[in-house]
Symmetry: C2
Subunit: 345 residues, 2 copies
């Protein structure tokens, strides 16, 4: 899944070049890294790329080794339930008995081997559940994430039965969750038998399921783009978490063995990349003299920070951003202001 907007990583990402397509954490883009780290567990001919029309060309260019037929082009963005329902239809066409592993294409994963081990454990534990969710052991009382409560199983190799999904808690609740040892961050990585997922749509999102059934025969025919667009765009705009996961039961949770971050802002790079001895994070050509706690990104020439603390400094796409780390999550405010006409001297 490579949807989403581009404003959180301005000026590197934009609505034209959204987060999955930028080389945020290394020389390869996040979507390239996502496909890479699935290897060899999910061979490339079994990796489907769910992408908006606007980013199709970009996705194909960045992923030349993914077979051309594996790109699933969403006619319009309708959140993750529509996205995954549409993927389930495409997968059904290939093999009605397949399983669907849904992976966001814009996250950080620290240890690819542990990641694949965790996914494999999920696949092993899938039978007998309505689906598997992958939970991250919370490292801090994060109020920006969804949480999943689950019950520790007697058998340590088994999945944890999911008790409930909890949307973004306040700081007090989040601290309690950490203490309890039974709450996990919702990584957004899900696993279903494809048939079961379609059945869950049927039970919990009947209107969406109806639309999916209307779409099904169109996928096999030519020149149906306009019809597909019309039906798809009428699907309710809601996440899979709200639409299905919070309503249905019978899910199992596999605790992640890997370090994970959703990298929600420039400041989050500090959780995904190693720091120097002064707690600075660098990506690209840089110099730091008498600087600490800074995050410096450059896709071009040298960026020098001198005598500064706790700043985000980015040179990307010929533009420069400077803001304090603790304002990086408000970047929308700047991007909105930039959309208004600018004074330029």
């Amino acid at each position: 899944m490579a949807g989403g907007r581009g404003e959180r990583f301005w000026p590197l990402s934009t609505d034209q070049l959204t987060k999955p397509f930028v080389p945020l954490l290394g020389p390869r883009s996040l979507i390239q890294e996502t496909v890479d780290r699935l290897q060899p567990l999910i061979p490339k001919d079994r990796v489907l790329i769910s992408i908006g029309k606007a980013h199709e060309a970009l996705a194909r260019a960045q992923l030349p080794t993914i077979p051309p037929d594996n790109f699933i082009i969403e006619p319009i963005g309708r959140d993750t339930s529509a996205c995954l329902g549409f993927c389930a239809l495409h997968l059904e066409k290939r093999n009605p008995d397949s399983i669907l592993l849904a992976v966001p294409a814009d996250h950080f994963v620290g240890d690819p081997e542990a990641y694949r081990r965790t996914l494999a454990r999920g696949i092993e534990n899938l039978p007998g559940t309505n689906g598997i969710v992958f939970g991250i052991t919370p490292e801090r009382p994060e109020t920006g994430y969804g949480y999943i409560q689950a019950k520790k199983p007697a058998d340590s190799s088994a999945a944890w039965p999911v008790t409930r999904f909890v949307e973004k808690p306040d700081a007090v609740k989040a601290a309690e969750y950490i203490k309890s040892g039974t709450y996990f961050w919702n990584s957004g990585i899900f696993l279903w038998h494809n048939k079961v997922l379609l059945e869950l749509f049927h039970m919990h999102m009947p209107q969406t399921h109806q639309r999916l059934c209307a779409l099904r025969p169109l996928l096999a025919k030519r020149d149906t783009d306009a019809q597909i667009f019309e039906i798809f765009s009428s699907i309710e705009r809601i996440s899979i978490d709200f639409g299905i996961m919070e309503k249905a039961g019978g899910f199992g949770l596999i605790p992640a063995e890997f370090h994970w971050d959703d990298v929600g802002s420039w400041a989050a790079l500090a959780r995904a990349l190693p720091a120097d001895e002064n707690n600075n994070i660098f990506q690209g050509s840089h110099a730091a003299v008498d600087a600490n706690g800074c995050i410096v990104y450059s896709d071009a020439g040298l960026v020098a920070v001198f005598g500064t603390s706790d700043l985000v400094v980015v040179q990307a796409k010929g533009k420069v951003l400077v803001c304090p780390k603790d304002r990086a999550s408000d970047l929308k405010q700047l991007v909105r202001a930039l959309e208004r006409p600018l004074e330029t001297k």
Copy 2:
């Protein structure tokens, strides 16, 4: 005079592209602005450009309307006394009775008309003095400038007789100087009868004068570059202030009617350019949201400051600098560090 190094305005200026040649305060470079603002008082065919060998091509390219013979190429940098002695020799060749107006090519002048008016007053008052200095009424207890003490004349149109030159004072002294009303900043703009200047060399810098006399016949001959280099490079490395002005008497001072700044660092742009309502200074494409007291310079794409205070942010020559305003005067420290091998990821 367009000598000097390039580190104070890194990354815009470098040792290859020194301060006089950068468009720091507007679309034209400081040396272009300097020549422009002398018009029509000093016609271009009477403007001589004193320049180091390394910057000759740059100077000629930036000043295509200055006659080619008007470029005086210093074989090697030997501070302002050698520079001005060498200029005096060249001027003597053209007209032994000329007057020499020495103007640094890297300063800010707020009001070109008042500037020319002030210079013209200097020229009127030159007869009967050993030279005219132009003094700036101090606006703050600056400890980085030289000061000139002078005595207010009864006739307000006359020059102020210079009492003494004072090198960079401490803050207490500087505050006293301001109060007194008889101290001025030394602008580095000087005026002499060319003959008198050479005589001052004879009296106060006899060794340098001897070298100048050895150079004199070489200027008229061909293929004397090597000889000129040898003699010139043996001249004492000392400023005209130390070498002559502080020793000799008989100088007059004309108080400047114009706003002036030597623009010694990025932070000084705040004294030379107008600020927005949040006290930000901009040059080039910029955006400021919730920012105040920042100095933003771009020779290329947009530079955005968001939620920041009192920073210098520069995008120039493909590089980026971020530092607090109050560290801008220490920029040498960064440039020195950059001369050492850099880690680049």
